[in-house]
């Protein structure tokens, strides 16, 4: 309940929360830390720390490259947890582990959840772990008051959405469109309908991600969703102009 209470408390003050994303170890942990500082300046509410994986098959080209380079630079799971612990002490926002299931599986679910709790994480987003396979992980996470975040997709049947919505803890991550991360999403009536469908099936806050990259997108989501999820666009801003680029991007988006 900790994550949902935190979000509810913030939602009482702000109509739309923001979750951002960094790929651990890319370009470096030092730069990750500076990116988080900029995010804190804008009162970001949640940050996903992506633990790099060699086969990021749900990610688009920019994140694929970031994952690959982070691994080539020698980023290990233990380094990601150490970074999370450091960030959790320093920043007011909540941190989520984001990554692929093999990273969790290889360490062992129990050990991974223990480390996540010890590092001060609030939950985890594992897009290639379906609900059916997550029973034990969900039980372990619940015991440590951590929330595994479920993804809801526009291709889901109503029955499937209802099943996911009922099982959701913390918040749900509504995937705005088909495809991988990092392409443009049309903010239109179809998406609006999908967000409304997500709302109907769950009690927890609704976050929307995939292709959220502009001020117009944020304006569109305000009043429809609870959390705007910004991934690739922020990394693009950092890659183009570093700290200043990210600051300008977030100012344009949220200022």
């Amino acid at each position: 309940m900790a994550l949902e209470s935190y979000l509810r408390e913030r939602l009482a003050r702000k109509p739309l929360l923001v979750m951002t994303h960094v790929v651990c170890g890319y370009p470096s942990f030092e730069e990750n830390l500076r990116a988080l500082e900029v995010m804190a300046e804008f009162d970001v509410d949640l940050v996903e720390l992506q633990f790099p994986f060699s086969e990021p098959s749900a990610d688009g080209p920019r994140f694929v490259r970031a994952n690959q380079l982070a691994i080539e630079h020698g980023t290990h799971t233990r380094d990601c947890f150490a970074f999370m612990a450091r960030a959790a002490q320093r920043f007011p926002f909540k941190l989520l582990m984001m990554g692929y299931y093999n990273t969790v599986f290889k360490m062992g679910e129990a050990a991974f959840i223990e480390q996540l709790a010890a590092a001060g994480g609030a939950g985890l987003i594992v897009p290639d772990l379906p609900l059916e396979e997550s029973g034990e992980l969900r039980r372990l996470a619940a015991a440590r008051d951590l929330d595994p975040i479920l993804l809801l997709a526009p291709t889901n049947t109503e029955a499937r959405l209802a099943q996911l919505g009922a099982a959701a803890r913390g918040f749900v991550y509504a995937v705005a469109r088909k495809g991988v991360t990092g392409s443009k999403t049309a903010m239109d009536a179809e998406l609006s309908d999908f967000i409304a469908r997500c709302r109907r099936v769950t009690q927890v806050p609704v976050g929307v991600g995939f292709g959220v990259s502009s001020r117009e997108d944020i304006d569109f989501l305000r009043g429809r969703a609870d959390i705007a999820i910004i991934g690739t666009a922020a990394l693009a801003a950092w890659e183009e102009r570093g700290e200043a680029g990210l600051r300008a991007f977030l100012a344009e988006l949220l200022g």
């Binding site: 790099p52 994986f53 060699s54 086969e55 990021p56 098959s57 749900a58 990610d59 688009g60 080209p61 694929v64 490259r65 690959q68 691994i71 290990h76 799971t77 692929y100 299931y101 093999n102 990273t103 599986f105 290889k106 360490m107 897009p127 290639d128 772990l129 379906p130 396979e133 479920l150 993804l151 809801l152 997709a153 526009p154 291709t155 889901n156 049947t157 499937r160 996911l164 995937v175 088909k178 495809g179 991988v180």
Partner: protein
């Protein structure tokens, strides 16, 4: 053995291996595929339709050939070969591809995508797409594009678009990732023709089902030709589709030993081979949609792999074979690049056969083991593909001077 009678709640699992680990966006697509495949498998007319296609289009049944010269040369067991190389497009890949083409038509989809390593699966898929009037895009690691140009040439001329994948190690696994990325975007009109018996359920079962045509034929043929079932069956294992195909013919015959032959590359030690089970360098993991043994590090990130044969150069192994290995039903061995080169030379000279470098891994193990077997014993090898596609790699490996001269002359002719 009823591998495919799943316990409640364990559909798609073979022991602890297999499963279906996909992003939520693909749930309805994979559900639709699973239901369609279930209906086809339950319909005897579907199998007959499949067999008819394979008979008229691919020349099935492929024969079993007795290798009298090689058997005599080795002085041990009598060696027979199942000739999947004689299929249209030159390998067993066409079996799975035509089967999935029929499934694709039932699903009403108009576009297919496929990954390919050696290029045989991409070649077969491009052929099927042309025949069935489907749009076709083939993803192939840039390294493989460079080493298998002849197959790329044919795919493009058959009307497929070939994309060289530049991510990761730029081999088969990266091509699979790229297919998954295409599929999460285009699933509405696109079927993913996964080429090997790996990936999320129902692919391992479905690919094994279509490839079982190899084993069903071979079982009859070896009894006709040799008078009884073989003592050992050898098949190379990359993803594992040809091995599953031929092994299914003798899975319930306890007296038949099944031997899976993996890519030993430069030999044991992380990074120099693609042997998941024969060498102790792999561990259990979940990637590319399924649970099996992967060549990975302590963080679960995949290791570099190496093989002389692009089609075996892969990080994971068919979950059904991992289970059969654990049950001690299938023995796993590796053949190194050097052993494969030697075996190829011997088979070409003694029998006039040119197995693909992939298939030659099975020959290499059989050649190593045959001399210690009795003359009344019988070996069956699956020659999963033909080797003429490997002309560049083989010419390199044996350092053929005349070939190099020819290439130079060609380059001059093209004004390089």
């Amino acid at each position: 053995m009823s591998l495919f009678d799943f316990a409640p709640g364990r559909e798609g699992y073979y022991g602890t291996y297999g499963g279906c680990f996909l992003p939520e966006i693909l749930t309805s697509t994979i559900d639709e595929l699973r239901e369609c495949f279930r209906a086809c498998k339950a319909d005897p007319a579907f199998w007959e339709e499949f067999r008819a296609v394979m008979r008229s289009y691919s020349g099935r049944p492929t024969p079993v050939t007795y290798l009298e010269n090689l058997s005599r040369h080795l002085g041990g067991a009598r060696i027979y070969v199942k000739r999947e190389d004689l299929n249209h497009t030159g390998s067993h890949k066409i079996n799975n591809v035509m089967g999935q083409g029929l499934i694709c038509k039932r699903l009403g989809k108009t576009r297919v995508i496929a990954e390919t390593g050696a290029g045989q699966h991409g070649f077969a898929t491009a052929t099927m797409a042309a025949r069935f009037g489907l749009r076709c895009k083939i993803y192939m690691g840039a390294v493989d594009v460079a080493r298998q140009r002849p197959n790329v040439f044919w795919m493009e001329n058959l009307g497929a678009e070939v994309v060289a994948v530049e991510d990761g190690q730029r081999t088969l696994k990266d091509a699979i990732n790229e297919c998954l990325r295409d599929w999460v975007t285009n699933m509405a009109d696109t079927h993913y023709v996964l080429g090997t018996a790996c990936g999320p359920h129902p692919f391992p079962e479905m690919v094994s089902y279509f490839q079982s045509i190899i084993g069903l034929e071979a079982r009859e043929q070896i009894q006709e030709n040799a008078g009884r079932l073989p003592d050992r069956v050898y098949a190379c294992v990359g993803g594992g589709s040809n091995a599953m195909g031929i092994f299914q013919g003798c899975l319930d015959d306890a007296g038949v030993e099944l031997v899976g032959c993996e890519a030993g590359g430069f030999g044991p030690g992380p990074g120099g081979h693609a042997s998941r089970l024969a060498y102790p360098d792999a561990s259990l993991g979940v990637a590319q949609g399924y649970k099996t043994y992967f060549l990975q590090n302590e963080d679960g990130n995949m290791l570099e792999t190496h093989s002389i044969a692009a089609g075996l150069d892969y990080i994971g192994v068919n979950p059904i074979l991992a289970y059969l290995w654990e049950q001690k039903r299938v023995r796993f061995e590796a053949a190194t690049d050097d052993e494969v080169r030697e075996a190829l030379r011997l088979v070409m000279r003694t029998e006039g056969l040119i197995p693909a470098l992939e298939s030659t891994h099975a020959f290499a193990r059989a050649i190593a083991e045959a001399p210690a077997m009795g003359r009344d014993e019988i070996i069956l090898i699956n020659q999963s593909g033909r080797g003429d596609k490997d002309i560049f790699t083989v010419a390199d490996a044996i350092d053929d001077r005349a070939w190099k001269q020819f290439i130079r002359a060609k380059a001059d002719q093209y004004g390089a």
